[in-house]
Symmetry: C2
Subunit: 258 residues, 2 copies
C-alpha cells in the first residue's frame, strides 16, 4: 500500500524542503517508487527537483475538484521520483478551500485515486511554514507526519505545537490513523554546544520517535538546489548525501517494523 | 514622527525575529525609543526578549477593535525596548480578521493612536513566514519593509515575491507610502562560495536598497534566545553584536537622509 507522509513544521527554515527532495531521491535509489507533492506556494521542492513552476500545474485545481491529481504528475531529474509541482497561486487556495464543505478533507479526496492505484510506495508532501489550510489538509490526509527540526532554540520551542496538533487530529477524529513518522534533527553543527544540547533535549522528550540519523550542516545541501538536483546527484560523496542515504535506510526499516 | 517598519519575508528561517530583537536592542542602545510588535503566533520575538506568551496579551484583540494597542504594551529585558507580545491564538486572527470590513487595515487602525502619541521613534513588527492576513496587515500599516534574506539559494529565489508585493501595495493604493527600508543579508558564511555569490547577486539587482551591513553567521545569535536576551546583552563583544550595532547606525543614517 502507498504510505503518505506530510513533512511539516510551522517553524520556518528547518529543512522541510531539503528533507523532502533528498529523502525522496535516496529512497528511490534504494528501490522505492516515489511521489513528491509540493504544497508550498514558494515552489522550492519544484525548483529543487529541476522543474519551473507553471500556472495551473499544482494541486490547487485538484483541491477544488476541477482536476485529478494523476493528471498533475510530472517526472523530475531524479530517477524514480515523480512530482505534483506547486505554483505561486497555491497561496490563493487557502481562501478558496476554506469556503468549501469538508474543507479539511479536500486533499484526502484528491489523493484517494492515487492510493487506490498504488503506483507509488511512498508519497512525501512538502508543507509551507504555517499551520494554515494547506498544512492542515496534508496532515488530515497523511498516514504520518515527519517533523524536521533545526538544532536551534526557536525550533525546539515550537516542536510541541506541531506534535500536539498531530495528537489532536488523531484523537479528535479528523485523521484516526495519523502518527509521527519521526522527528528529524537537521543542520547539526558538531562545533557548537547548542546543537548537542538540542539533540539531547529532543531525544529525552521524544525517545524512539526521534530518528537515530542526524543530518549535519553541509554546504553541499544548500548548493544543490541552485543546480536543480538532489544532493545524491550533485555531490554523491558529501556528508549530506551520506546522511540522507542513512535516513532512507532507517525510514524503510521503520516502515517494515510497523 | 514614529517610523513603523515591518520585518517580513515569506521564506522561513531567514532571520526576521533575530533581526527584530537585536536591531531593536541596538537602536535603543543608540538612543532610539523602541517598540517591538510580535505578529507571529510562534511568539519567538516575545520569548527572545524575555517574556512568556499570555492568553489575551497580543495584538489579536486590538485587530478586532476590542482592545487598544497601548494597553498591550509591556517592558522587556532590553533597556529602552517595549513590546506588544504575541500569543498562540494569534493564528486564529487570520480567520477572524479576514471576515471583517476593511480587513487589510485593521492593524493600521490599531496603530493610529500610537502614531499620534509619538512615544516611540521606531516600531519594528516581526512577521510570520507567510503572506497571509497578518503580514499583509503589517505591510498595509508600515512606512517601510525591512527584508532579511539568508545568503542561500531558496531565499534568493523568493526575494522577488516580497519586493513585487511591496510595489503592488504602494502602486495599488493599499499603502501609498510603503517603501523598502532595506534588504539585509543574514547568516553570511565567509567560508562558502554560496554566500558570496548570493550577496553579489542581491547587490547587483537591488543596489542601494541593500544594507551595506551584512550579518555574519555567529553562534552567539542563536544561543541568545535560549537566555531570553538580545545579543548585545548576552554576548556584548561577539561578531553578531557588532554587526547589529553597525546595522543600527546605518539604519539611523538612512532614516536621517530621507
Ligand atoms: N543540513 C543542511 N546543511 C546546510 N544547509 C541546509 C541544510 N538543510 C537545509 N539547508 C539550507 O537551509 C535553508 C533552509 O532549508 P529549507 O528551505 O529546506 O527549509 P524549510 O523548512 O523547507 O523552509 P521553509 O520554512 O521556508 O519552507 C535552505 O537554504 C537550505 O538549502
Ligand atoms: N546570523 C546568525 N547566525 C547564526 N544563527 C542565526 C543567525 N540569525 C538567525 N540565526 C538562527 O537561525 C534560526 C532562524 O532565525 P530566525 O528564527 O530569526 O528566522 P525567522 O525568519 O524569524 O524564522 P521564521 O520564518 O520561522 O519566523 C534561529 O534559530 C536563529 O537563532
Ligand atoms: Mg520549504
Ligand atoms: Mg521569526
Amino acid at each position: 500500500a502507498t504510505r503518505v507522509v506530510a513533512v511539516a513544521n510551522q517553524k520556518g527554515g528547518v529543512g522541510k524542503t531539503t528533507t523532502v527532495i533528498n529523502l525522496a531521491a535516496c529512497l528511490a535509489e534504494q528501490g522505492q517508487r516515489m511521489l513528491v507533492i509540493d504544497l508550498d506556494p514558494q515552489c522550492n521542492a519544484t525548483s529543487g527537483l529541476g522543474l519551473s513552476p507553471e500556472e495551473g500545474l499544482s494541486l490547487y485545481r485538484a483541491l477544488l475538484g476541477e482536476q485529478t491529481a494523476r493528471n498533475l504528475i510530472r517526472p523530475t531529474v531524479a530517477e524514480g521520483v515523480d512530482i505534483v509541482p506547486a505554483e505561486l497561486d497555491l497561496a490563493g487556495a487557502e481562501v478558496d478551500v476554506a469556503r468549501m464543505d469538508g474543507y479539511l478533507h479536500r486533499f484526502a479526496l484528491a489523493l484517494a485515486p492515487l492510493r487506490a492505484a498504488a503506483d507509488y510506495d511512498v508519497v512525501l508532501v512538502d508543507c509551507p511554514p504555517s499551520l494554515g489550510i494547506l498544512t492542515m489538509n496534508a496532515l488530515a490526509a497523511a498516514d504520518a507526519a515527519l517533523i524536521p527540526i533545526q538544532c536551534e532554540y526557536y525550533a525546539l520551542e515550537g516542536l510541541s505545537v506541531i506534535t500536539r496538533l498531530v495528537t489532536r487530529l488523531r484523537e479528535g477524529g479528523a485523521n484516526p490513523r495519523l502518527e509521527i513518522e519521526g522527528i528529524l534533527m537537521t543542520m547539526f553543527d558538531g562545533r557548537t554546544n547548542l546543537s548537542a544540547q538540542v539533540e539531547a533535549e529532543v531525544r529525552k522528550h521524544f525517545g524512539d520517535k526521534t530518528f537515530a540519523t542526524v543530518i549535519p550542516r553541509n554546504v553541499r545541501l544548500s548548493e544543490a538546489p541552485s543546480h536543480g538536483r538532489p544532493v545524491n546527484q550533485y555531490a554523491r560523496d558529501s556528508s549530506g548525501a551520506f546522511a540522507y542515504r542513512l535516513l532512507a535506510a532507517e525510514f524503510i526499516q521503520r516502515t517494515r517494523r510497523r
